[in-house]
Symmetry: none
Subunit: 236 residues, 4 copies
Amino acid sequence: MYKQKPSPNKRARQDSQKFERRNLILEEARHLFLKGSYESISMAALSKKSGLAKGTLYLYFKSKEELFLALYETHLEKWFGEVNAELEKMIHKKPADLNVIHLVVKLMVRSMKAHQDLARLLIILHTILEQNIKISRAIEFKLKLAKHLTRTGSLLETALKFPSSGEGAMLLLRANALIIGLWQMANPGPVVREALEHPEIRGMKFDFFEEFSQTYSALLSGLELNKTNAKRSYQS
Amino acid sequence: MYKQKPSPNKRARQDSQKFERRNLILEEARHLFLKGSYESISMAALSKKSGLAKGTLYLYFKSKEELFLALYETHLEKWFGEVNAELEKMIHKKPADLNVIHLVVKLMVRSMKAHQDLARLLIILHTILEQNIKISRAIEFKLKLAKHLTRTGSLLETALKFPSSGEGAMLLLRANALIIGLWQMANPGPVVREALEHPEIRGMKFDFFEEFSQTYSALLSGLELNKTNAKRSYQS
Amino acid sequence: MYKQKPSPNKRARQDSQKFERRNLILEEARHLFLKGSYESISMAALSKKSGLAKGTLYLYFKSKEELFLALYETHLEKWFGEVNAELEKMIHKKPADLNVIHLVVKLMVRSMKAHQDLARLLIILHTILEQNIKISRAIEFKLKLAKHLTRTGSLLETALKFPSSGEGAMLLLRANALIIGLWQMANPGPVVREALEHPEIRGMKFDFFEEFSQTYSALLSGLELNKTNAKRSYQS
Amino acid sequence: MYKQKPSPNKRARQDSQKFERRNLILEEARHLFLKGSYESISMAALSKKSGLAKGTLYLYFKSKEELFLALYETHLEKWFGEVNAELEKMIHKKPADLNVIHLVVKLMVRSMKAHQDLARLLIILHTILEQNIKISRAIEFKLKLAKHLTRTGSLLETALKFPSSGEGAMLLLRANALIIGLWQMANPGPVVREALEHPEIRGMKFDFFEEFSQTYSALLSGLELNKTNAKRSYQS
DNA sequence: AATGAATGAGGGTTCATTCAT
DNA sequence: CATGAATGAACCCTCATTCAT
């Protein structure tokens, strides 16, 4: 009833081997994602690129969505790690510099430049990736995310000084929101990209990092100001 | 077995009739969009709801994307109109109130609450609607948008006082970005919505309007502050 | 976003044309079914054979199952028509012949020989065709079937004399059951067919029509006998 | 992320252990078959339920079909055993009762009520189970079946008196056919089941056992009658 | 202008079976 | 004997768009 072919691929029996294979898949997915959109990547193409059978992909990921969610998670993990390290460094140095906000913003811009995939994945996170996953996976993801937000948020609080305890996470979520929105606007599809060459609207083009930098900077300043004012009015 | 006579619709010969028919389609599209997502709305369903043939829709719109882009435009038009009116009122009153920012933010929240479709359409504007349109249409749309941004932006400049000439438009674009990001995060799909009932991550839920209000408010304050500082440092 | 090709096929605008096209599809389906099993027929293959696009099939039938159900229905319709005609002829002739049962059985065998597809479709009717259809379609089908059963059943009653009013339909359903079972047993798959060449079990092979003839004949005789006995015991 | 240690099952070295393991698998298959259809039972699910690896199942059965064929065979074995015992009892008693047919039919209904799985497996026997098996297995199965048919058939001949030597087996095959057909018709899928609640076709529902009882009874009576008539006409 | 029949690419997923370990 | 990772064929159906009528 069912045909089968010999299986030319080595079998990953050990957990470590399975982990490696999983990473291999994610790595190939990343490569494809660099060149094309999520929609343009078919599981068939990914399997071919990975040198694996289509079915094998489903041994490691429950669905295409969960696969890319895992890719996002991997990147995010790294990103948080790097940002944490830099924040800790910054905190240690105790920069006499008044303008910590500026430092923080620069830090974020730098780390995002190194992880542009992350921004692109973030764009589809809420509209696609989080749609076709098991609830258990959703909870797992959000739990992990929450932990990161808490940890890095708390570092942010220390570095920036002005936020109250617990507000750091919210600062990250707001950065998130800004990234989603600004990235989309700054990186339109080919049609709009060409349209924006039109002289009268050329002004609507902007560089994502430049714009994010300014906006997030202002946002943090504004929040700090609110805090100061609140304290002052409380003191008086 | 088969439907009765075809009974074709009366032809819209006059421009006014064509205009009306176009509006009818948009109105029905709006109705369907209230109940479901963009993807869930098929052109077939829309044609049936409109009492028109599928092909007829394409007499009025070049593609599904252009149709919803038109819907977006219609809403946006109204939204700008209302916001302009309110801004002008505010400017006229010359509120001695120092906190114009607060007033402006309240205004925006109020107008967005009245146009929630707009936010939902905005979410798909860059990722979907702007993808499959003719370049001429893209230019037309962007030109119109630019005009609105300039006009309303300039009103904003007057109301808020701190922005330099031409910066008002950017304030609107930043609001745009925040809306896109925050809306997606505040309104997840059913799976994540349920996942967020989990006790440990319940804290990640937030109300879009509340959050937008705070964030945009801080953003404006921050921008104002930067301006003041810049001037001060310039003066000194 | 979506490509399209010119549509080389003439359009069936009139109901009559649509009816013809529908029949064309059914006819091609019948051809394919002659050569292979239901499972072996892919909608893609059928569309190619029909010279139509895959999607076009779905304009005429909601699913593969409904398509073959329609094929079954068409055949059944014809079968009932022929059987009715023959029964009426038989009734008219008023065969002095005592053995009406024999005549009826011969009639059924003859009509079934002319509609062997019907038997093969009947095999999959309950296990496949009736599984993936809309309930409304199921009701429609069963209603039509009920009418046929009543009409032909009543002719059977007249011809055979012994059945009470309303029992004729049941005679047909019992024939149905016998056909389903005997056909499967008489026409095994290739493996079993070959196995039955083994000398010790060669005796298990049998001819469907021969066997059906004998069995149904005995069944009718038995029913008649029961009736007679019942009457007799009632009279005495 | 990954499951704990593999902890392979103890090896069944002795034949008795292998036999037990084989039975365990069949037993679990029976459990799953009680709750769902053949198609709905995946080898993966069965292996999990059995606490064995997927590959292990294939150490005991060559294919899914052979596995369920074995399940069928096991049941059939039991069924024949019980029926034989009852038939022998009946023969011993030498029931003065004229209506042995009635007794035999009651016996069969009783035994089938106790083995409803058997009927459900019978439905798929010819269309599925016998399709993907080795020819040697097919021969083995048919040989065993033939023996049973002969033995039980001969008991039937003795009990019923009217069949000639060798005809008993055919009586069983005819019962087989009736069961296949009537069971399918009496136990439709969910859609048709619901459709049959429709008032005008509610009459098409029937109870399998009731109907089988009447039909098989009539069939036997008819066969007996034919015999008597044949003899009589021969004598005269 | 209006119709609606025709198009056909496109793709994720399942699952019985194998065989290296 | 036992394992379970790997295989990969197979398939229905949707739906935006076109264009003959």
